[in-house]
């Protein structure tokens, strides 16, 4: 039995790796995505333009404006003269945020009254706007504190914030471990489901069924190569993450491998299930797409799971992508050096998913053929 499965596995790997085009389809996305996405995925606000409409020409507003112009978040700086310009700057997305100093701003500050600076934000991009607003608030706060200390007053309280595991909130620390899951998902699905559909269309599937190979052996013969490819891709991403992007790797490689294995198994289950239902490549493709799109979008890759409504969070429990790799395991192994008990604790749902999907696929195959 082992000999036969080995023959299947070798055949599958040869089919994937000896054809230049399918080889390219396996490895090019890994290379391109690891090269581009870590830079594209940033919820930081950088290189932005700050526009200032200063109706006041007192010392307070001038000092504040000078402080802002030195800030890192804003690399460009626009001086506005009237409301019409302010409207134009926001409407045409020339600046994300406009600071408006009212006429009596400096006077109020000097008098010791509370003075207000208005921050006008482009609501079409309210998320970036909020982040930019955060920077502005931090700067105003430090201005206030400086003034307090300058007058000899102590600050009654200070707040210190530390970010564990990722002190500078570097988004690349987040994206690269997530990519391990996103990229392997695509190739495992393609290898398991599309390649079976292709064998069906080309008639080789019948050839396999007539041979002494059992449907279960054929399933193993599709799953093992998919897992191997997933390992190669993961290794490429992990190496790139550590060597080129400097993402810290605190955990154990063995635990990571074990996690990737269980994950690939779960995804292969979905792939086989799709292929057991589909007769043609087009159907399999649509099936893969319909599975993959929500799986990626709801995985926490595009936005945090914590922000989803409760019922949807429950739905994502069935999404292997979310569940175990993106949110918990890989990042935990990379950044937190997660311990074995922690990994095992989070691994079992994956195994449950794998068990359910694989046995469903097994059942479908038997039903269809038998």
């Amino acid at each position: 039995m082992f000999k036969r499965i080995r023959a299947l596995i070798i055949k599958e790997l040869q089919a994937i790796l000896s054809d230049p085009q399918s080889r390219a389809l396996i490895f090019m996305p890994v290379i391109l995505d690891t090269a581009l996405f870590p830079f594209a995925v940033t919820l930081d606000v950088q290189n932005n333009t700050l526009a200032v409409l200063n109706r006041d020409s007192g010392p307070a507003s001038i000092e504040l404006v000078q402080r802002f112009s030195r800030a890192e978040a804003f690399t460009h700086y626009l001086v506005l003269n009237n409301d019409a310009e302010m409207r134009d700057v926001i409407d045409n997305e020339k600046a994300l945020l406009v600071l408006y100093f009212p006429v009596d701003f400096s006077r109020k500050v000097e008098r010791g009254d509370a003075a207000t600076v208005q921050a006008i934000i482009d609501g079409r991009r309210s998320n970036s706007g909020q982040i930019a607003l955060g920077y502005v608030e931090t700067m105003i706060e430090s201005y206030n504190n400086d003034r307090l200390s300058a007058e000899g007053n102590t600050i009654p309280s200070i707040i210190t914030v530390r970010h564990w595991f990722n002190p500078n909130l570097n988004y690349q620390y987040f994206v690269l471990p997530s990519l391990v899951a996103v990229i392997t998902t695509i190739s495992v699905l393609v290898i398991t489901s599309l390649s079976i559909a292709r064998e069906r269309e080309q008639g080789t599937f019948d050839q396999l069924l007539v041979s002494p190979l059992t449907p279960r052996m054929i399933m193993i013969g599709k799953t093992v190569p998919a897992i191997l490819i997933a390992f190669i891709q993961s290794a490429m991403i992990v190496v790139a993450a550590v060597a080129f992007y400097g993402v810290p790797f605190h955990g154990s490689l063995a635990l990571l491998s074990l996690s990737v294995f269980c994950y690939a198994l779960a995804i292969a289950g979905f792939g086989l299930l799709i292929s057991s239902i589909c007769a043609t490549q087009q159907q399999a493709f649509l099936g893969v797409f319909t599975f993959m799109m929500p799986a990626v979008l709801l995985s926490g890759f595009a936005s945090p799971i914590d922000n989803m409504p409760r019922w949807l969070q429950l739905v994502t429990e069935a999404d292997p992508l979310r569940h175990l790799i993106v949110i918990v395991i890989v990042k935990a192994i990379f950044l937190k050096g997660a311990s074995a008990p922690f990994v095992f604790n989070n691994l079992w749902p994956l195994l449950v998913i794998a068990l359910v999907t694989l046995s469903a696929a097994d059942w479908m195959f038997r039903r269809k053929i038998a």
Binding site: K3, K11, A15, T204
Partner: protein, 575 residues
């Protein structure tokens, strides 16, 4: 000499990715009022020539002139002159007959009253009136082909290009199609009909015989065939195994070609050769020679000059199986329904060890469905399919270890190399290590696969694909071979070589079950069943079937005659 409608002038075509030219230095003229056959095996360059004439490709060198128009420069004007039916008929399967028809009418500017008249004329010609609102995909092969023809005929083209219209169509529909084409030709249209069936060539007025992109012959088919007169014979009343006799006939140097025809053997002699001595062939005391009419295929083989081998090194590998007369394959009241369509209807037959059993029938008759149920690929709706007394559906894999299976279109892994394919299939059947290497080596030697070991299976010439497929099916030395349309599209020499192998392994006691729509091929079977509309309408040896069909019109019916006769009879009985 009538004016040439189409003039081919030193026409060559090569494709960037292949070294060999698809067409080489072709010069010919095609006239109106005749059916010109473009004849040759797969890969001869027929489709390329069709596409060149339709203006869909550009010649590499040379030119095509159609009614004084150049196929490249004047391609726009040409579209009005040329009607073209591509392979697979170019129909939209999700549109109805009428919608397909209207689309092509609009595209060709047939509108208004003209269209109504054309519609009526073509519907009458093709007998599709009852089916105007049926989806094209739901039509039978023959009806699809008629609809494709009707669409190509819109707008009164003067030249009609038909690319392999006979593929996938049963002999009855094929005869109807010829009748339609004959009618068109009488209206001074030039019809160009491409085909891989050499027997169709005999029906053409003129023939362009192509092989490997070169033109072997251009002229009336009878002219070529008549050269063979006096060289074609049948050995009748053979005693003993006709397969063994065939082997002995084929090794005679005087013989160019020999095939089994029922209980007889058809022999074609080399030029200026005498008949070999019957005692030398050891065909039995009563064996005698009978002179018969030559066929176009004989002439083709003569022009090629190649001879199929008589001995099969493949069989020499095998050990003799005991001839115990045991029933190896058995179908009991096999029925398969898809919805309310009955694909196989209460089919029963038995195959004993060492026999070649054939399922013969047109496409869509249900022979593939039956075949698949026998191999355990489909679940019968009712009835049982047993192989060596076991139902393959539920059997353990050991039972399937004894089977060899060759699927339609040679299901190989196209992107794997020849060697990888051999390694995989031997591995799947549990061979490994030294044994595996040895067996793969044997197959490479037997089938001359050496030069192709590192080429992908997709890139092989069709003949080699077929050899490879047979090698893959035989490596584990099965007792039973299932062959589904094993030789479709393959040239006659390769087809004979294939049957030499099959005949020899059967002599060793291997049981073979084969499906085919080649009437010739049916002659190799010991017994066969004629499948039509899901039912077995006749069964027996080839000679028995022919005898059943004998009537006044066909005192000596060919297999095709017998086929048509039996089906027509059945059709009458049913109605």
């Amino acid at each position: 000499m009538p004016e040439a409608l189409v003039q081919l002038d030193h026409l060559s075509k090569s494709f960037p990715k292949s070294e060999k030219a698809a067409l080489e230095e072709l010069s010919a003229r095609i006239v109106a009022g005749k059916v010109t056959g473009l004849v040759g095996p797969d890969g001869a360059g027929k489709t390329t020539l069709m596409r060149l004439m339709a203006g869909l490709m550009q010649p590499s060198t040379g030119s095509i002139t159609i009614k004084g128009l150049d196929s490249v420069r004047d391609s726009v004007a040409l579209r009005e002159l040329v009607g073209y039916m591509p392979q697979k008929f170019g129909l939209y399967e999700d549109l109805t007959v009428e919608e397909n028809f209207n689309l092509h009418a609009d595209l060709r500017g047939v509108v208004g009253r003209d269209r109504d008249q054309e519609f009526e004329r073509l519907l009458r010609l093709t007998d599709l009136t009852r089916f105007t609102s049926r989806m094209a995909g739901k039509l039978s092969g023959g009806m699809k082909q008629k609809l494709g023809l009707a669409c190509a005929l819109l707008g009164h083209p003067q030249i009609l290009l038909l690319d392999e219209p006979g593929v996938g169509v049963d002999p009855i529909s094929r005869r109807e199609l010829w009748k339609m084409v004959r009618e068109l030709v009488s209206q001074e249209i030039a019809v160009i009909w491409s085909t891989a069936y050499l027997d169709e060539a005999e029906l053409c007025d003129e023939v362009l015989l192509l092989s490997d992109g070169k033109m072997l012959f251009n002229g009336e088919p009878g002219e070529l065939t008549s050269r063979m007169r006096g060289r074609c014979f049948q050995i009748r009343e053979i005693e003993g195994s006709r397969r063994q006799v065939l082997t002995r006939v084929l090794v005679c140097p005087e013989v160019l070609d020999a095939v089994i025809q029922g209980q007889s053997i058809r022999v074609v002699l080399r030029r200026d050769s005498d008949k070999p001595d019957l005692t030398k062939i050891d065909a039995g005391a009563h064996a005698n020679w009978a002179s018969i009419e030559p066929r176009f295929e004989d002439a083709f083989l003569d022009v090629l000059g190649e001879k199929p081998p008589g001995k099969s090194p493949l069989a020499e590998q095998l050990t003799n199986l005991p001839r115990d007369g045991a029933t190896v394959i058995e179908a009991k009241n096999l029925t398969k329904r898809f919805g309310d369509f009955v694909a196989t209807d209460n089919v029963s037959f038995q195959v004993i060890r060492g026999e070649i059993f054939g399922l013969l029938g047109p496409n869509g008759a249900g022979k593939s469905t039956t075949f698949k149920m026998m191999c355990g690929l489909l679940q019968p709706t009712s009835g049982t399919a047993l192989v060596t007394g076991i139902d393959l559906k539920t059997s353990a894999s050991e039972a399937r270890q004894k089977l060899g299976y060759m699927a339609q279109k040679f299901s190989l892994y196209g992107n794997l190399t020849v060697h990888q394919n051999l390694m995989f299939f031997s591995g799947a059947y549990g061979l490994d290590g030294k044994e595996q290497a040895e067996e793969v080596g044997n197959m490479v030697r037997i089938f001359h696969l050496d030069p192709y070991l590192k080429s992908s299976a997709d890139s092989l010439p069709l003949g080699f694909k077929q050899r490879l497929a047979l090698a893959c099916a035989m490596m584990h030395r099965p007792d039973i071979l299932f062959l589904d349309e094993p030789t479709s599209g393959v040239d006659p020499v390769t087809r004979r070589e294939f049957w030499t192998h099959i005949n020899s392994v059967v002599e060793k006691g291997v049981t073979v079950m084969v499906t085919t729509h080649f009437m010739d091929e049916a002659e190799y079977c010991d017994r066969m069943a004629l499948v039509f509309r899901g039912r077995i309408i006749a069964a027996g040896t080839p000679d028995e079937l022919k005898a059943k069909a004998r009537n006044e019109a066909h005192p000596e019916p060919s297999m095709e005659d017998a086929f048509i006769e039996l089906i027509t009879r059945d059709h009458h009985e049913q109605n």
